[in-house]
């Protein structure tokens, strides 16, 4: 599903590579934690998968597509197959829960009938039934992140990328978020989650890929976060 082959990324005006000869494979339906300290290259990895950045060398395949040969014109179609969740939720403050989720379908031109059918289903899947008409500022952080997950998942992507989704949420609420991610994973969606949260990684017992200074230092199935942290 995601295939990195000897990928190196150096940002302009920086000497040290953000990713240094990284090779990794993520299969369909897998749940992968991407761990490591700040600046270790986790976010760069996610940005490369979305083709928001281009690698300096190496090849990246996502959903069977060679990103180097994917024209800019087709990048939006790649992104429709990838859902994204962030630490800061990125909801539209002037739209309610339903509208925020529907927005993701509206802007890719889905028919209204389809939107009316699938949005309530996804809102229920993330556990926000009955709150479809709340505005984001009326929701708790955990609930806002559920909206963001509903928006990321509403188009049934093959891959869900989560960049520190529990970073702004207290540990008790984080468990609920992880349950939703797990539920999404069980529908067959590949999930890649970058995180600092040792407790969550340890409790989930999923594959762990650890980055340090842009290099993979550990790739362990059913791993834990590691003693150093």
């Amino acid at each position: 599903m995601i295939h990195f082959d000897n990928v190196t990324k150096v940002y302009a005006n920086q000497n040290r590579p953000a990713l240094d000869h990284v090779s990794v494979d993520v299969d369909k339906g897998e749940f992968v934690f991407l761990v490591g300290p700040s600046g270790s290259g986790k976010s760069t990895f996610l940005r490369l998968v979305l083709k928001e950045e281009r690698p300096n060398s190496g090849a990246i395949h996502v959903a069977g597509k060679d990103l180097a040969r994917l024209s800019n014109f087709k990048v939006p179609h790649l992104r429709r197959r990838i859902g994204c969740v962030f630490q800061d939720f990125r909801l539209l403050p002037n739209k309610n829960v339903y509208e925020n989720v529907a927005f993701a379908l509206e802007v890719i031109g889905k028919p209204r009938r389809f939107i009316r059918k699938v949005v309530p289903e996804v809102v229920e899947l993330v556990g926000l039934e009955g709150k479809a008409h709340r505005m984001p500022d009326e929701l708790s952080g955990g609930e806002q992140q559920r909206v963001a997950m509903a928006r990321a998942f509403v188009n049934r992507p093959m891959i869900l990328l989560a960049d520190e989704p529990t970073g702004n949420i207290d540990p008790a609420t984080s468990i609920g978020i992880m349950k939703v991610l797990d539920r999404i994973n069980r529908t067959g969606t590949t999930v890649v989650m970058a995180t600092h949260d040792a407790a969550i990684v340890d409790s989930m017992r999923k594959r762990v890929v650890e980055l340090e200074d842009g290099k993979i230092v550990r790739d362990q199935s059913r791993g834990v976060y590691g003693q150093a942290y």
């Binding site: 979305l50 800019n72 014109f73 990048v75 939006p76 179609h77 790649l78 992104r79 429709r80 197959r81 990838i82 994204c84 990125r90 539209l92 927005f103 993701a104 509206e106 802007v107 890719i108 031109g109 209204r112 928006r151 188009n155």
Partner: protein
């Protein structure tokens, strides 16, 4: 593509940037109006040149009794022999196509028509006051130099008036007006382009959250950019409509007024309509191009 989604986005964008939008509309309106005026003056000039091309003549006025012109001083007006010799001289010139004699009575008739409204002047002028003249039409109006030189020295001639020279002064003025209008229009087009660029930049900044999400969920570039471009198009269209109103006002009050003096009308409504559609298309095109160029810089997709 969902039209109502695009239009609601456009409306929000225009409202958020109201002051900039108004600035764009005013600049486009004035710029396009000046461009249109330049084009209208242009069509007026070429129309008038065609109209006058076969009408310009060299008028050779003959001395009459007690003529105040220095060349006629002392003579009792032109006599029979001088007049015949003059006609022979003119007809003998290779540049001359046709020559007609206008006697005092005919000149008075023309005068009456021309100054029909000025009764005071008409009552003061008698038939005898009108000079007789030869109306000389040249094969090529450009070759007047030699003709005039020869005729001015001939006996019995009071003065020679070249209509072409008079018209050239007038055309010169028109051409200056046209040049001036087009130069100012050019500057305003530059100003409009920069203003639109700035508006789109502000708009892109205001909506960076929405466009970021649109990009993330895989909205196509067209879908993301269209609301911004439409903002430019709508501002350009409103500006174009205002320019059209200005052009119509100019046609009615300025051109039609001037044409009253010139006795014939060359600026038709068809010309005005084509000028208006041309300026409108041009205005919208500028807006679209400026929006696209700015978007490439400020809205990463």
């Amino acid at each position: 593509m969902r039209a109502n989604f695009i239009f609601s986005e456009v409306w929000i964008g225009l409202r958020r940037n109201l002051t900039m939008t108004i600035a764009v509309i005013v600049t486009v309106a004035i710029g396009m109006a000046l461009l249109g005026i330049g084009l209208m003056v242009n069509s007026q000039i070429s129309g008038m040149k065609d109209y006058w091309a076969d009408k310009v003549e060299v008028s050779v006025f003959l001395c009459k009794k007690n003529d105040p012109f220095p060349k006629c001083k002392g003579s009792g007006g032109v006599n029979e022999e001088e007049q015949t010799a003059l006609r022979a001289l003119i007809e003998g010139m290779p540049q001359v196509e046709q020559v007609e004699f206008e006697d005092a009575a005919k000149a008075y008739e023309n005068f009456k028509v021309q100054y029909a409204s000025n009764t005071v002047l008409l009552s003061a002028i008698q038939v005898d006051d009108m000079p007789e003249s030869f109306r000389v039409k040249l094969k090529d109006p450009e070759t007047y130099g030699a003709v005039i030189e020869q005729l001015e020295g001939a006996a019995g001639v009071s003065n020679v008036v070249n209509q072409k020279k008079l018209l050239e002064n007038f055309f010169g003025l028109m051409e200056k007006i046209r040049g001036f209008a087009l130069v100012i229009a050019g500057f305003l087009v530059i100003a409009a382009t920069l203003l639109i660029g700035n508006t789109v930049r502000l708009s892109a900044y205001n909506r960076r959250r929405e466009t970021g999400i649109m990009r993330l969920v895989g909205a196509s570039n067209l879908y993301i950019q269209l609301p911004f471009v439409m903002e430019g198009v709508i501002a350009g269209l409103i500006g174009g409509v205002l320019a059209a109103v200005l052009l119509i006002v100019t046609k009615v009050f300025l051109f039609d007024g001037v044409q009253g003096y010139l006795g014939n009308s060359q600026l038709t409504w068809e010309t005005v309509a084509s000028v208006i559609s041309l300026t409108m298309v041009f205005g919208v095109l500028i807006c679209v191009l400026a929006s696209f160029v700015t978007l490439r810089r400020y809205l990463r997709v």
